[in-house]
């Protein structure tokens, strides 16, 4: 039998499309990309088993006529793993949507802060000249700036909503202080760690 060109072409197409989607910021596209890549890997594993043949069930008369069973076992395992992880990613996308009303990956606040900072030594700096995000907490303004817990406009999630970047992190901890959770959970906003 001759090797088929169809499977390699399909694998290449799936990989290309999958990687392209995975590079997107939108999480739904990332998930679709992951699914395509998973299928690409599975087809690759299948084609690694060589040419198609009969079902590999004992007893066999002609060993060369049967298919290689190992790649099929590997593919089954890989499918189960891909399935489980996809479910987790879906749950994460949903949670992200609930929290920030957006399924696009946000910029990292601390990254931006470090990248845009002008000098390293804060000790010698006048607080008046500092970026608000670099200033220490407790200036009394950030609490009002954030979404209030009793605000009817704010959906009922127990976390600061709708604010990207450093302001959010500030508000989160300021808010946590306001409700008195800080002594127990100094991280601010991570108040639910129990082991």
């Amino acid at each position: 039998m001759t090797p088929t060109i169809v499977l390699p072409v399909i694998v290449a197409g799936l990989y290309a499309a999958g990687v392209y989607l995975l590079l997107d910021r939108s999480l739904t596209r990332v998930l679709l990309g992951f699914l395509l890549l998973g299928n690409a890997a599975n087809v690759l594993l299948l084609s690694a088993g060589g040419v198609a043949g009969l079902a590999p069930i004992l007893p066999v008369d002609d060993e060369s006529a049967i298919n290689d069973p190992l790649p099929q076992a590997l593919v089954l395992t890989a499918i189960v793993i891909t399935f489980g992880i996809s479910a987790f990613v879906l749950a994460m996308i949903y949670r992200s949507w609930r929290l920030v009303r957006d399924e696009v990956v946000q910029d990292d606040a601390e990254d931006l802060r470090v990248a845009t900072r002008e000098e390293i030594d804060a000790d010698e700096r006048d607080p008046e000249l500092m970026d608000p995000a670099d200033r220490g907490p407790g200036d009394g303004f950030t609490v009002e700036a954030g979404p209030r817990r009793d605000d009817p406009e704010t959906p009922s999630d127990d976390v600061a909503l709708g604010l990207a970047g450093a302001v959010e992190a500030e508000n989160e901890s300021a808010e946590a202080k306001a409700v008195g959770e800080v002594r127990r959970t100094p991280a601010g906003g991570h108040g639910r760690d129990k082991y």
Partner: protein, 526 residues
């Protein structure tokens, strides 16, 4: 003796998995759950230690799971390297579990906790790590990686706050990519050789054309390089680790990247001993060290600074691997052991700093050395160790690697030796900045004000400074961290013994016959 090993070998995987099931069942009884997890991990540690003792005295052994003859079935292989890694991994996971339990008890309110999933997930993580270390089969290694990664996804996004979901997304997507590259590599390896048994691969891969070998090796190295955070595949790490809860970050930082390093060691010794990509790895090691440490110097947050030093010090291990000599591998293995312990300790100490000071931002911290001298010691000792101050274990590990580099000689290794020294100095700079800011300088007026005026009365219960000093650092957490500091000192004191084991492990690795014979016995491998 063989029967004992046959029984013991699967236990580091089996016990945590069964324990995870048990912990799920008793999820409504936190006290029971905690006891169960600690008992299970203590048992696993005992098993690992006895495996190491046996492996070190009699050499490598293997077990065919389910009684299927090699190479049809899955084999678990215990040699000096995997046994050593098991012992270190289980010591760290047990210690961090005690720390986490201490934190859970201190924070209270377990009756309606939605987070009874922590213990089962944590045990699954341990099972995955053990499986990856024991796997004698490429696909089983993949399964081990997936098990530990799936557990790590859950642990990293624990509680599902906005920051953690954001960090978790980066982490999950990057890990998925590495898993898929790994899976594709397995498919290609199978297509080329017709087996996934690592001992059999060791022989069959060598018969392939050189170009095919380089392709397969580079795919495996990319997959493991992402997991080990080797530059330029390391950008995900400082982004995703710092947001997780302190114990989770500690165990991830200590352990998970080292599983990647372990897989790289296996790839470069057992599967592809030719060293075709060693030059490339050497420069990757230099870039990892330098880029990582420059990132660390720029940070103001302790956790982020530590994450960057973690990336940077992975470079030392890759340096040892890339040298390709016994001394290089021995240095890399010793450095892995040292670094697992030290990085975990530092992250746990940082967790205590966060509880004590309310933040990990060095611009807001201050005066901790005076406020909490014990905490200062717990941070200072491992910090100096990380920077490689003699006579601590970081110095021993770095010295071993530098000697190995000089012994090899040539432009590349000498540049790397220079880079390693500079990185070490810059680590000291980064660590000293944190120490100076958070511990040494006096607490500034406005931060103190904020602490007293807003936080403490709002907290409701404790009002005096003394009360808070006691309340803030639960004894179990401090004890667990102190135990870790003791372990890192023990690595220093017993450095000679440990280096001996690492040296014998490296000799075995380069020799390859102990591994092959343990799997196939007297059979001829085809």
């Amino acid at each position: 003796m063989d029967d004992v090993i046959r029984v013991l070998t699967p236990l580091p995987v089996l016990l945590p998995l069964l324990g995870a099931a048990g912990a799920l069942l008793v999820g409504r009884h936190p006290q029971l759950q905690r006891t169960l997890s600690i008992v299970v991990l203590s048992a696993v540690l005992a098993v690992s230690v006895s495996l190491l003792v046996m492996a070190d005295s009699q050499g490598a052994t293997s077990v065919s799971v389910g009684g299927w003859p090699v190479p049809l079935g899955i084999v678990l292989v215990v040699d000096r390297l995997s046994a050593l890694m098991l012992v270190v991994a289980n010591t760290v996971t047990l210690g961090v579990l005690v720390f986490a339990v201490g934190q859970g008890v201190a924070d209270g309110d377990e009756t309606d906790t939605p987070l009874s999933i922590f213990h089962p997930t944590y045990l699954v993580l341990v099972a995955g790590v053990s499986n990856a270390f024991l796997a004698g089969d490429l696909f089983n290694l993949y399964v081990g990686f997936e098990v530990l990664l799936a557990a790590s996804y859950v642990l990293l996004t624990l509680g599902g706050t906005a920051g953690r979901i954001r960090a978790g997304i980066t982490y999950v997507v990057v890990s998925l990519m590495s898993s898929l590259v790994f899976l594709a590599a397995i498919g290609l390896v199978y297509a080329a050789t017709g087996t996934v048994n690592m001992a059999q691969l060791a022989v069959r891969l060598g018969e392939l054309p050189a170009g095919t070998q380089v392709l397969l090796q580079s795919m495996l190295l990319v997959a493991f390089g992402i997991k080990a955070a080797v530059f330029p595949l390391s950008a995900w790490l400082p982004d995703s680790y710092p947001t997780a809860p302190a114990p989770v970050t500690a165990v991830f930082a200590g352990l998970l990247t080292k599983v990647g390093v372990y897989a790289i060691i296996r790839t470069n010794t057992l599967l592809f001993p030719d060293g075709a990509l060693d030059d490339l790895l050497l420069w990757a090691a230099l870039a990892t060290m330098v880029v990582g440490i420059l990132g660390a110097v720029a940070q103001t947050d302790v956790k982020r600074m530590l994450s960057f030093t973690l990336v940077s010090h992975i470079g030392y291990m890759v340096f040892g691997i890339a040298l390709g000599t016994t001394a290089g591998f021995a240095g890399a293995i010793f450095y892995v052991v040292h670094h697992i312990a030290i990085q975990t300790t530092l992250f746990l100490a940082t967790g205590l700093v966060e509880r004590r000071g309310g933040t990990t931002n060095t611009e807001k911290l201050g005066g901790l050395a005076k406020a909490s001298p014990l905490l200062a010691i717990l941070f200072f000792v491992p910090a100096m160790n990380l920077a490689g101050i003699p006579p601590l274990s970081g110095f021993i590990g770095k010295l071993g690697l530098l000697e190995a580099g000089v012994a090899v000689g040539g432009v590349g290794p000498y540049v790397l030796v220079g880079g390693a020294v500079v990185t070490s100095l810059l680590t000291l700079v980064a660590i000293a900045r944190v120490w100076g800011r958070a511990f040494w300088r006096p607490r500034s007026v406005d931060t103190a004000d904020e602490d007293v005026a807003e936080v403490r009365p709002a907290a409701g219960t404790a009002t005096t400074t003394a009360e808070i000093a006691e309340n803030r650092l639960p004894r179990t957490m401090v004890a667990a961290t102190a135990a870790f500091v003791a372990v890192t000192l023990a690595i220093t004191v017993f450095g000679g013994v440990l280096y001996g084991v690492a040296d014998r492990a490296a000799t075995d690795l380069l020799d390859r016959t102990p591994y092959l014979e343990s799997v196939f016995g007297d059979q001829e491998i085809r």
